[in-house]
């Protein structure tokens, strides 16, 4: 690839600049990959060195420490208590007691970790029920719980190791402070620092716990599920256990023929439509939103507030009401067909949701109805920030309205809203509500419906994921694979676009 110098680059036209950037991005991929490999190598080297340093530090703390420090290696917090930092010490001790208790108790941590390798040994067996006078399945091991609590226990063990290390470090620090003759921080000081120097820890404790338990943990769990055969027929408890299957599910997803079902084609088809949808949903809203905002804000247009309020109604009214209602309006025997018939415009009812192409166009059009108001608000805010003298001087130079739009308004908007466009593209890829409430994925795609969940022509990956996990024939492992693939696509797009954006912003600029 030809490389331009800065001066040559500046002389290129807009389109050439963009192509050049695009080409240089892809040209940089091999080097980027190589850097990634190097980076990973460096990471592990640093990690190894870091661990080595930690161990030597722990060893030195033990060797040079007094008896209080040394006993802290076994009884956490002992040193702190012995040196008068009772609060800290008690917390350490309490954590150790809870941890040991949890690990050794029957069906406690040790059990879950031990079972993690197999996800359960004994499946449900047939047992005779005297009351019902019939054989029923008696569950034993529970694969789901084993996976869940196994992962949780691993988290807990990591937390314990971290705390133990902190406990050792505390002793070293305390010894050093005492050697210099200064007093140690008391429990009161510790508490006070929670609203002062360490206030950020206090503030973050609750939100981060929530994210850890309700987002991070489930995501790790679901990534693991992609490597099992967890589905409706192997729910891990009442009907059959599930176990590890390695990369089998990914192989299924990328196979042309699994039991007569072409998963690869189904996935490809849905992904293509998802990208088409996200593209149109984002850019139609974007440009039409700007257009509407400019109309409303034009000098000499009255009743600005009225127009704005009417548009905002779609934001104010919960989406599911408007979407469900509009969906029914366009049904085969809905209002729209009735109205068109009454006006004599059509003889036959139009099957808006029954024809693949029409249904796809309809969801994009109705999404415009939903989306323009947001863009109108955003664009209004930004348009007001464009310096008015830019327009003044360009008009004196004889620029037409259209020229002003393409040379001033649009570049300014694109520059400022670049990151917003990216996030709105990716969130449109995952726009469950609009698709599910409007069409539910209809019309059914007969060719693809052999795959899990009845696949339709307007299904996005995210609604497909939902269908796989609800109703009959749930295949959680497949849903996990789809989820992971959605993540990869979104991450890839974000990476590419961020590298092409003109405004990679430094957040400190705003402060």
């Amino acid at each position: 690839m030809k490389r331009y110098s800065d001066l040559e680059y500046l002389r290129l036209s807009k389109g050439q600049k963009f192509l050049y950037k695009l080409a240089s991005f892809f040209a940089a991929i091999p080097r980027g990959l190589w850097n990634l490999v190097l980076g990973i190598g460096r990471f592990f080297k640093d990690l190894g060195l870091g661990i080595g340093r930690e161990f030597s530090d722990i060893y030195l703390t033990f060797k040079n420490g007094d008896w209080k420090t040394r006993s802290s290696f076994l009884v956490m917090g002992f040193g702190s208590i012995a040196r008068g930092q009772v609060l800290r010490g008690l917390l350490f001790l309490l954590f150790e007691i809870v941890f040991i208790f949890y690990m050794v108790v029957p069906h406690g941590g040790a059990y879950w970790v031990k079972m993690l390798g197999s996800l359960g040994l004994e499946g449900p067996s047939k047992g005779y029920d005297e009351i019902l006078d019939q054989y029923t399945l008696v569950p034993h091991d529970n694969s789901f719980r084993i996976l869940l609590y196994g992962v949780l226990t691993l988290f807990f063990i990591a937390a314990f190791i971290y705390t133990w290390r902190a406990n050792v470090r505390q002793n070293k620090i305390a010894e050093e402070i005492l050697r210099t003759g200064k007093p140690l921080r008391s429990g009161k000081d510790d508490l006070r620092s929670l609203v002062d120097d360490n206030f950020h820890k206090t503030l973050l404790a609750l939100p981060l716990t929530g994210i850890l338990v309700f987002t991070v943990m489930p995501i790790i769990f679901m990534i693991l599920v992609a490597f099992t055969n967890y589905d409706g027929d192997h729910n891990g408890y009442t009907n059959a256990l599930f176990g590890w299957v390695g990369f089998e599910n990914f192989r299924t997803m990328f196979s042309w023929d699994v039991g007569g079902v072409n998963y690869a084609a189904t996935f490809g088809e849905i992904l293509t439509w998802t990208l088409i949808w996200a593209f149109f949903a984002t850019f139609t809203n974007y440009f039409l939103g700007i257009f509407v905002a400019m109309m409303i804000n034009k000098k000499g247009i009255h009743l600005k507030k009225v127009w704005r309020t009417i548009l905002i109604l779609t934001i104010a009214i919960p989406q599911f009401i408007s979407l469900l209602y509009v969906s029914k309006m366009f049904d085969l025997n809905g209002l729209v067909n009735g109205g068109l018939k009454a006006l004599g415009l059509i003889q036959q009812n139009i099957d808006f949701w029954g024809t693949p192409k029409l249904a796809r166009i309809m969801v994009i059009v109705i999404n415009i109805w939903i989306g323009i108001p947001y863009l109108m608000l955003i664009a209004t805010g930004i348009l007001m920030n464009i310096p008015a003298d830019l327009y003044e001087s360009s008009r004196i130079d004889g620029a037409s309205g259209w020229k002003q739009f393409t040379k001033i308004t649009l570049p300014y908007m694109l520059f400022i809203t670049g990151p917003y466009l990216l996030t709105s593209f990716t969130s449109n890829m995952n726009n469950f509500n609009v698709i599910y409430l409007l069409t539910g994925g209809r019309p059914t795609n007969a060719a693809a419906s052999g795959a899990a969940g009845s696949v339709g022509y307007t299904d996005l990956l995210i609604t497909w994921l939902f269908k796989i996990t609800t109703g009959s024939g749930t295949k959680y492992y497949l849903a996990s694979v789809v989820g992971i693939l959605v993540f990869l696509v979104v991450a890839l797009i974000s990476l590419v676009v961020y590298n092409l954006l003109p405004s990679v912003k430094n957040e400190e600029d705003f402060q």
């Binding site: 609203v195 247009i301 009401i321």
Partner: protein, 300 residues
């Protein structure tokens, strides 16, 4: 001289022309705006009108009812439909979520805006990556966990479970309010710190008084979220009648074609009852919403 004159006349003509063209373009814009307004209003007008239709319950090809009446609304509040229960469920959820989520979001965004600590950047990048996973993926397991804790619709009440799900991860949505906090000058904090206030006092006494718009924005969006949520509510409530929220409930009325035939006008009435209070609240506070939305987009 004459040259000058013709130039002046030319200019005058052009001015007139500009005026005329401005008038034409304004007229076109008015026509477009009126057309847009009609398109935007039609569904809402239709839903209100059809909620008063008495002669039939299904879908018909006309909008204006032949027999007007409040029958649908009366039926809505009849114990035979679960609507009142759904409404109450959603209202309680929305209220609790509005309070707790606001606290969490403000904690998160204030910290990330004001404090510089070692893990700050990695934390923000980590959450960015976390946000790229479809949230629905987590729902499958959360459902099972909530089920183990007896917090799903199977046990008759999905309200606590849903509150937990909505609130727990709300820390991830800190972007908009962080952007707002970033605009409050740091010198204010420093001045207060010099005067002997600790960090907590800076937050309560200075920042929060200045951050009123963003606090209201956060409360408003947090309150409106549960009214429109469909996916999580469906998972957690398991479509058990008394455990649903309004979205899942009203959708269940239109699940099949026969149900549409029986419940269409009832759905319209339900939609109106849900939408009117929320919309009024939104319209009253829209100034803050607009501020938040535009600020959020500009700061990315």
């Amino acid at each position: 001289m004459s040259n000058n004159n013709t130039a002046a006349i030319e200019r005058e003509k052009r001015h007139m022309g500009l005026k005329a063209s401005a008038r034409i373009s304004n007229t076109i814009i008015y026509i477009l705006l009126i057309a847009i307004s009609i398109v935007w209003l039609i569904p809402f007008v239709c839903i209100v009108l059809q909620s008063f239709r008495m002669e039939s319950t299904g879908r018909v090809g006309y909008v204006i009812p032949q027999v007007w009446g409040l029958g649908n609304y009366r039926k809505l509040f009849d114990p035979s439909t679960n609507f009142l229960r759904w409404y109450l469920n959603t209202f309680i959820i929305a209220l609790v979520v509005a309070v707790v989520q606001t606290v969490i979001v403000l904690c998160m965004s204030y910290t990330l805006s004001r404090f510089r600590f070692k893990m700050r950047k990695p934390l923000m990048q980590f959450m960015l990556i976390l946000g790229m996973f479809p949230g629905m993926l987590a729902m499958i397991i959360l459902y099972r966990v909530l089920d183990d804790l007896h917090l799903t619709g199977q046990y008759g009440n999905a309200v606590p479970g849903l509150i937990l799900v909505y609130v727990a991860s709300s820390g991830m949505g800190y972007y908009v309010s962080k952007g707002f906090f970033d605009t409050i000058p740091k010198t204010l904090d420093e001045a207060a710190r010099v005067d002997g206030a600790n960090r907590a006092q800076v937050l309560y006494k200075i920042i929060l008084t200045l951050a009123k718009p963003i606090v209201i924005y956060t409360i408003l969006t947090a309150f409106m979220g549960p009214w429109g949520d469909f996916v999580f509510a469906r998972y957690v409530s398991q479509v058990i009648p008394q455990a649903m929220n309004v979205a899942v409930g009203l959708q269940s009325w239109l699940a099949t074609d026969t149900m549409v035939h029986d419940n269409y006008t009832l759905f319209c009435a339900g939609g109106v009852v849900v939408a009117v209070p929320v919309a009024i609240l939104f319209m009253c506070l829209q100034r803050y919403y607009v501020e938040g939305v535009t600020g959020g987009a500009v700061k990315g």
